[in-house]
Amino acid sequence: MFIDQSMTRDVITVGPEMSIIAAREIMVKNGIRHLPVVAEDDILVGIVTDRDIRTAMPSTVLSEAENAAAAERLAGIKVKDVMTARPVTVSPTQTLEDALLMMEMYKVGAFPVVDQQGRLRGIISVRDLMRAFVNVLGLRTPGVLVGIVVEDKLGQMKKIVDAISELGVSFGSILVARVWEEGKRAVFPYLLTTNIARVRKHLRDKGFTLLDPMEWYLDQVPKK
């Protein structure tokens, strides 16, 4: 999936000359933590986060007199003074996987999406990625997740799909955890069926090892 298909398009932006007090109000009012900073023609010049602004704010441990003085000084501080200039951006034709890996690498929660001319087209945030992930997992369709441990070799997935298809059960999604334990993989089909006990029994009868999360849970319960 391309970023263009999942990004938020109606982005609230600020100008570089806006005071940080006004910028903070915009964040609070809209419940957002990132504001792209744009100059004329929507050209992106920076990004300002609630953290940038909080860092510039007076500490709550200061006295009233000190605070008043600080507030006055604060009114003069502009977005361009605290923003990250030339932030890391992504293009609309990069993919969601790009955004996900970049977020992990740069340890940031959102990227402005800009076109080749440097104009802001949208923003892609952790929230947008989560929405896409929930969609990919099919969690909005009634179903149930089953965990199966298989050997890490070719043809395992086909066996699982065949075994489940024999029961006439549809798949909502399938996830594979590549690293589970040495030489194993964990496969998580999300199955669109009410009668999951039948599926579990069928899989066990066929020799599959099912992941039983309750083993972990029962370990946590104090023994009588």
Binding site: G143, V144, T193, I196, A197, K201, P213, M214
Partner: protein, 319 residues
Amino acid sequence: MKRTGLLYDERFLLHKTGEGHPEMPERLTVIMRAIEEAGLFSKLVPVPVTAAKIKWIEKVHAPKYIHRFEEACMLDLGELGDPDNQICPQSYDTALLAVGGILNTVDMLMEGKIDNAFCAVRPPGHHAEMMDAYGFCFFNNVAIAARYLQLVWNVGRVGIVDFDVHHGNGTQHIFEQDADVFYYSIHEHPSFAYPGTGREFEKGSGPGFGMTLNSTVLPGQGDEEYMHKITRDLLPAFDQFKPEVILVSAGFDAHAADDMSDINLSTEGFSWMMETICRMADKYAGGRLISILEGGYALDVLPELLKNHVEILLGLKEL
């Protein structure tokens, strides 16, 4: 003793789901035999069964979906949506009869001809969404009854208690934004069971915020956890909401012997739960309660569970 209505019709058996499907007609035959053998028939008030008018179904389901269901039966397509929802040519008519019978039950209840009722119907309803069949359910029986109570009988506050082991996604979604219908469900935790909804943070939205309440139970748990969560969650919620009528989505698949879930509720646990709900009906709703069958697939325990269920409604069984 209470005047308890009983809704049943042999035509509810005509919805055939095919070999090996757990939602089978035999569920109803074993239940009815148990009620008969316990000598309860003469104590119950029979409710007449007529097909529901489409206009009431349309209060919950989209006309397009209703047509799709009717057409799938006419063309004998075998399933609706996915293979869980097996249908036969009679399924649509059966579903209409179930809803119609339930609406007749509502009328008798509100006219004061009965105090409460049990509806032994098929197909079940609580997974059915506005636009889709899910989990053996086609028309959302309970939801249509709630809408009918609001529209025809001007009931201001309808309380729904759903103790089927699976979350009633359809019912929750239909009333999510409705401040006048309180939906409470206790079910196996959605990370382990169908349909994957009904998490404890789902509380309704808009004007209906706070009018949806879910209690989740982990696999392997039973009576103790049910008593704890119903006492902690449902009792105070209804104490505040004060339902004028209570509808029960009565599923019996949380029983230890039912392999559709990993929950180990006992026969006594079910009795405790139903008595607790009936006491709430007495306290807030003048006893007005309609219990509508949802799931429950263990043919060997259904007879005793349903005999107890009906005895509790009649007021013959006290803890």
